[in-house]
C-alpha cells in the first residue's frame, strides 16, 4: 500500500506532467527552456548528493559536465556509437574523473577543497578551449540529432527523453537518500573520525560520493551536447559551476525537493530578466544575497521550519521505519568472550616533534575485563585512545590484537576487527536522529549493495527495518528509547554520551573504548552511565575505560593502568592503585607540594 503510493508520487505524477507539458506550452522556446531545466536538474541532483548529504564542496562541477559533453560528442560522431549509449559511457568517464578529484582532495578541507575543485574545473575548461583539434575550442563542434532505434528525436521527444532520465535518476537518488547509503554519506559529512571508528572507510565513500555526483553531471553534459547539436568551450566556465552550487544552496541543500526549486530559480530567473540585460548580474546577485540572508537553509529548508510543512520535512534520511517494538526483551548482541590477552600495547610511543605524548608504554588488556586508564591532565590518556583506535599511527612500538599486528591499521580497519570507541569531545552525527546515529553503528553488518539500494528492493527495506529495531533495542538498553527520533545534537550532554555508547555497541564490538564517558554529565546522568557500563561488564564485554571520575573507575574497573607524562607509572587492581605512592604523587604532587600545602615551605 505504502509502496504503491511511493511509486505514484515519484514516477506516476512526474511522468504525466512530463507527457502533458508540450500540450500546454507548445512553442520551441519554452520546450528548449524545459530541456535546459531538466538537464541542469540532473546535474543538481548529483551535486546535492555531494554538497547536501556528504558536506563536500565542488566548485568544479563544470569539469564533469564538460567531460560528459565532449565524450558523448566524440563517441557519437567519431566512434559512431548510438547517442544514448555514448551518454551513459560519458557518465561513467565523468565518474572516473570524479574518483580522481576525490582522491586528490581527500585531505583537503574548506578553502583548500574549494581550490582543488576549482583547479580541476579550470583545467578541463582550458583543455576544452585549447585542444581545438578535438573539442573545436570556442568555435565549437557539431553533434548529430539524437536518435533512438532509428527514430530521430524531435525537440519534444528529446525533452521527454531527458525528462524520463531525470525521473529515473530522481527515484534512484531518493532511494539512496533514505537507505544506508544516504545515512553513510551524511555520517562522514558530519564527522569523518566517528564514521571511521564505526568501520566506514571514509576514503572509499568519498570516492563513491564524488563518482555518483560526477556521473550525473557527466550524463547532464552528454544530454546537453545533443540539445542544440552543437557545443562550444565557451559554455564550460567557472561561472557555471557557481550557478550549479547556487541552485543547490538556494533550493535547500540536502533536501529531496531542493534541486527542483533551485534549478527552477537559476534557469527561470534569467528568462524573466531577459529584458534587463544590462542589469542582469545585479538583479541576480541581489536576489541571491537576499535569499542567502533570509533563507540560510534554502527555500525548502525555510518551508520545512513552518509547522504546517513539518510533515513533509525531508532533511531526515528516513524516519518511517515501520513499527518499533517495545514488547520483546532488549538484548545486547555481543561476540563470544575471549579469555586471555585481547589487546597488547608493546612499547608504544607517540611523539609529536619533540613532545613525547606517550613514551614506551606497555599495556595488556585481558578479555572480559574492564581496564581503566587514568592519569592527570596531559598524561597521555587521550593519545593512547587515539593510538588504540587507529586515529594516530604510533611513532614506535606495536599493537597486537588477539596476537595479530594491527599497528598500521586505519581506524576503519581496526573497527572491522571489532574495536570501537566513544569520544571525549562528542562526535555525534548532528544532522541525524538518535536512532539513525545508532543505525550507522551497524555499518559493518549491512549486506545490501549499491545497486539494490538504488532500486530499494524489498531486501533493502527489510534490512532497514531489521536494524532499526536493533538500534531501538540498543537505545532501550541505554535508556534512550523515548529520544529515538530526536535530533542527536538536541540531547543533553550526558545523553549524547549514551548515544555514542549505543552507537559503539551497534558495531558488535569485541572491545569498546570509552573515552571519558562521564565528562560534562550531571550527577544523575553519571549514575545512568555508570549503570550502563556495569551492565555491559556483566554481559561480558571487554572495555577500556578512560575516566577522571575516580568513583566510577574504582568501582567498575578490574585492572587499572596509570599514566603520567606519557609514561606508565604503575598498574594493578583498584586497591593497589589507590595505595601506590607514585599515583598519589602524580595526582596530588610530591613531598614538596605537601609542604607547600602545609605551609612549611614557600615558593621562591
Amino acid at each position: 500500500m505504502i509502496k504503491a503510493k511511493w511509486w505514484i508520487y515519484q514516477i506516476g505524477i512526474p511522468l504525466v506532467l512530463l507527457y502533458a507539458f508540450p500540450w500546454f506550452f507548445n512553442n520551441a522556446h519554452t520546450i528548449h527552456v524545459a530541456q535546459t531545466f531538466l538537464i541542469t536538474y540532473i546535474v543538481i541532483v548529483g551535486l546535492n548528493l555531494l554538497v547536501g548529504l556528504s558536506n563536500q564542496l565542488s566548485l568544479g562541477h563544470v569539469g564533469f559536465y564538460a567531460i560528459g559533453a565532449y565524450s558523448s560528442a566524440i563517441l557519437t560522431m567519431t566512434v559512431g556509437l548510438n547517442f544514448f549509449v555514448s551518454i551513459l559511457i560519458s557518465g561513467l568517464i565523468a565518474a572516473v574523473f570524479g574518483a580522481i578529484v576525490a582522491l586528490l582532495s581527500l585531505r583537503a578541507k574548506g578553502p583548500y577543497l574549494a581550490m582543488v575543485t576549482i583547479a580541476f574545473g579550470e583545467l578541463i575548461s582550458i583543455i576544452a578551449n585549447r585542444w581545438v583539434n578535438v573539442t573545436g575550442g570556442p568555435a565549437g563542434i557539431k553533434t548529430s540529432v539524437p536518435s533512438l532505434f532509428g527514430f530521430e528525436l524531435g525537440q519534444i521527444q528529446y525533452m521527454w527523453f531527458i525528462g524520463l532520465l531525470a525521473i529515473i535518476f530522481t527515484a534512484g537518488a531518493t532511494n539512496i537518500f533514505r537507505g544506508r547509503f544516504g545515512r553513510t554519506f551524511t555520517a562522514f559529512g558530519n564527522s569523518e573520525v566517528a564514521s571511521e571508528v564505526l568501520g566506514i572507510n571514509v576514503r572509499n565513500w568519498k570516492i563513491l560520493a564524488f563518482s555518483v555526483s560526477a556521473f550525473l553531471a557527466g550524463v547532464g553534459g552528454g544530454l546537453f551536447a545533443f540539445q542544440n547539436q552543437f557545443i562550444s568551450s565557451t559554455t564550460f566556465e567557472l561561472n557555471l559551476s557557481i550557478m550549479f552550487l547556487i541552485a543547490v544552496i538556494i533550493g535547500g541543500s540536502g533536501t529531496k525537493i531542493g534541486p527542483i526549486i533551485g534549478t527552477a530559480v537559476i534557469i527561470g530567473l534569467p528568462q524573466f530578466l531577459h529584458n534587463f540585460v544590462d542589469y542582469h548580474l545585479m538583479i541576480f546577485g541581489g536576489i541571491l544575497l537576499i535569499a542567502l540572508i533570509l533563507l540560510p537553509d534554502g527555500i525548502v529548508g525555510a518551508f520545512t521550519k513552518l509547522s504546517y510543512f513539518k510533515k513533509f520535512s525531508s532533511k531526515k534520511v528516513n524516519t518511517d521505519l515501520g513499527i518499533l517494538h517495545d514488547d520483546r526483551k532488549a538484548t545486547i548482541d555481543l561476540p563470544d568472550g575471549i579469555n586471555g590477552k585481547l589487546l597488547e600495547l608493546k612499547n608504544i610511543s607517540m611523539h609529536f616533534g619533540g613532545l613525547k605524548a606517550i613514551d614506551d608504554v606497555e599495556i595488556e588488556v585481558l578479555g572480559g575485563t574492564v581496564h581503566g586508564i587514568i592519569g592527570p591532565n596531559g598524561s597521555g590518556k587521550s593519545t593512547t585512545v587515539n593510538v588504540l583506535s587507529g586515529v594516530y599511527m604510533p611513532t614506535g612500538g606495536n599493537l597486537l590484537w588477539k596476537g595479530k599486528d594491527i599497528t598500521k591499521y586505519a581506524p576503519h580497519g581496526i573497527a572491522q576487527e571489532g574495536i570501537t570507541r566513544t569520544f571525549q569531545n562528542l562526535q555525534l552525527f548532528e544532522d541525524m536522529s538518535v536512532l539513525q546515529n545508532v543505525m550507522v553503528g551497524f555499518h559493518r553488518h549491512f549486506k545490501t549493495g549499491f545497486l539494490k539500494n538504488l532500486l530499494y528492493l524489498g531486501q533493502v527495506s527489510k534490512e532497514e527495518r531489521y536494524y532499526a529495531q536493533k538500534a531501538y533495542d540498543l537505545l532501550r538498553i541505554v535508556g534512550l528509547e523515548e529520544r529515538a527520533h530526536e535530533k542527536a545534537s538536541d540531547l543533553p550532554y550526558g545523553e549524547q554520551r549514551l548515544v555514542e555508547i549505543a552507537r559503539g555497541l551497534a558495531l558488535k564490538p569485541d572491545l569498546l573504548i570509552l573515552d571519558e564517558p562521564a565528562a560534562g554529565a550531571s550527577p544523575k546522568e553519571i549514575e545512568k552511565i555508570m549503570d550502563v557500563i556495569q551492565r555491559l561488564k556483566n554481559a561480558g564485554l571487554s572495555i577500556i575505560l578512560v575516566e577522571h571520575h575516580m568513583d566510577i573507575v574504582m568501582n567498575v574497573c578490574d585492572y587499572i593502568t596509570v599514566l603520567d607524562f606519557g609514561k606508565k607509572i604503575c598498574e594493578g587492581t583498584p586497591e593497589t592503585i589507590q595505595n601506590d605512592p607514585r599515583v598519589i604523587e602524580a595526582y596530588l604532587g610530591g613531598e614538596e607540594v605537601n609542604q607547600l600545602v602545609a605551609g612549611t615551605r614557600s615558593i621562591g
Partner: protein, 299 residues
C-alpha cells in the same frame, strides 16, 4: 631560447606574483579572523584599478601632475575600497547565521556580481588602457630592459608587505586580530570585540585589493570583467602558500608568477594550465599548502 628571455620571464613573474601576493594577503586576514573570505576579491581589484584609472585620467587631463594624480587616485581607491570591504562584511558575512556552511562563498559571489554589474554600467563592457605614472619609460640594463613601472610594483609590494607585517605583529590592532584568530572566545573575554575585528579585517582586505588594482592596472587592460581571473590567481596563491601563513602566501605568489611566466616561454596554453595543474599536485601531497601549518587534530 635565450638567457634574456628567461631573465625577462623571471622578472615579469616576480612582478605579477607580487601583485597576486598582495591581493591574497586579503584572503589571509579575513580567513584567520572569520574563517571566511571574499570570493569576489578579484572584482574589488578590478574596481580599484578602474577607479584609480578614472581619477588619474581626470586629474592629469585638468593639468595636474602625474604624481599628484597617482597619489590622489591611490588615496581615493583606499577610501572607497575600504568602505567596500566594510560593506561586504556588513551585508554578506555578518548576516549569515553560520560561517561553517558554505553560504558565505555564495554571498560574496553575489556581491561580486553586483560590483561587476555596476562597473560595467560605469566603465562599459570593453577593456581600457591604464597609463602608469612612469609612462612607458624603460630601464635599459644592456642585456635586459625593465619597465620602471615593474620596478615600482616590486618595490611597492615589498613596502606593503613590510607595512602589513609591522601592523600585524607590532600594533595592538594586529595583536588583537591574531588573538581572535587564535581563539575567538578567549579573545572576546579579554575585551576584544570579534565583530569589530571582522570589520577591520575586511576593510584591510578591501584596501589591499584596491591597491593591488592600482598597481596591476597598467600591467593588464582593466575592464569590468577582469576580476574573476585576478581573484582566481590570488586565491590560488593563497592556497599554494597556505592561507594562514602570510609569508607563505608571499613566497607562493612569487613562485606562481615566475613559474607561469617561464611556462609562457613554451606556450600560452601551458601557462594557463600550469598554475592549476601545479595546485592539484601540491594539494594532493600537502593538503595545507606549501607553508601551511599541519595540525594534528585531537579527538
Amino acid at each position: 631560447m635565450e638567457l634574456t628571455d628567461i631573465l625577462k620571464a623571471i622578472i615579469n613573474g616576480l612582478v605579477y606574483g607580487s601583485v597576486y601576493a598582495i591581493i591574497a594577503q586579503g584572503y589571509y586576514i579575513t580567513f584567520i579572523t572569520t574563517k571566511t573570505l571574499n570570493f569576489g576579491q578579484g572584482d574589488f581589484v578590478m574596481l580599484g584599478s578602474l577607479i584609480g584609472l578614472s581619477t588619474f585620467m581626470t586629474i592629469t587631463a585638468t593639468g595636474g601632475g602625474v604624481w599628484i594624480a597617482f597619489i590622489a587616485s591611490l588615496l581615493l581607491v583606499i577610501v572607497i575600497l575600504g568602505i567596500c570591504g566594510w560593506g561586504l562584511e556588513q551585508v554578506a558575512i555578518r548576516p549569515l547565521k553560520s560561517w561553517h556552511s558554505i553560504g558565505w562563498i555564495l554571498s560574496t559571489v553575489a556581491v561580486s556580481m553586483i560590483v561587476r554589474n555596476v562597473a560595467m554600467l560605469i566603465w562599459g563592457r570593453d577593456v581600457l588602457m591604464a597609463p602608469s605614472p612612469f609612462g612607458r619609460a624603460i630601464l635599459d640594463l644592456g642585456i635586459l630592459k625593465i619597465r620602471y613601472h615593474d620596478i615600482f610594483v616590486l618595490v611597492s609590494a615589498a613596502v606593503i608587505m613590510l607595512l602589513l607585517y609591522v601592523f600585524l605583529k607590532k600594533s595592538l590592532f594586529g595583536k588583537a586580530l591574531e588573538a581572535v584568530a587564535f581563539n575567538r572566545e578567549a579573545a572576546s573575554l579579554m575585551g576584544i570585540n570579534p565583530r569589530l575585528m571582522a570589520s577591520i579585517a575586511f576593510i584591510i582586505a578591501g584596501i589591499l585589493a584596491g591597491v593591488g588594482g592600482v598597481l596591476v592596472g597598467p600591467m593588464v587592460h582593466p575592464g569590468a570583467f577582469i576580476g574573476l581571473f585576478l581573484g582566481l590567481k590570488a586565491f590560488a596563491v593563497a592556497i599554494i602558500g597556505g592561507i594562514e601563513n602570510p609569508r607563505g602566501i608571499f613566497i607562493g605568489g612569487l613562485l606562481l608568477g615566475v613559474l607561469e611566466n617561464l611556462f609562457t616561454l613554451y606556450s600560452t596554453s601551458m601557462k594557463e594550465a600550469a598554475a592549476f595543474f601545479l595546485i592539484l599536485v601540491i594539494l594532493a601531497v600537502l593538503p595545507q599548502g606549501l607553508f601551511g601549518k599541519r595540525v594534528k587534530e585531537k579527538f
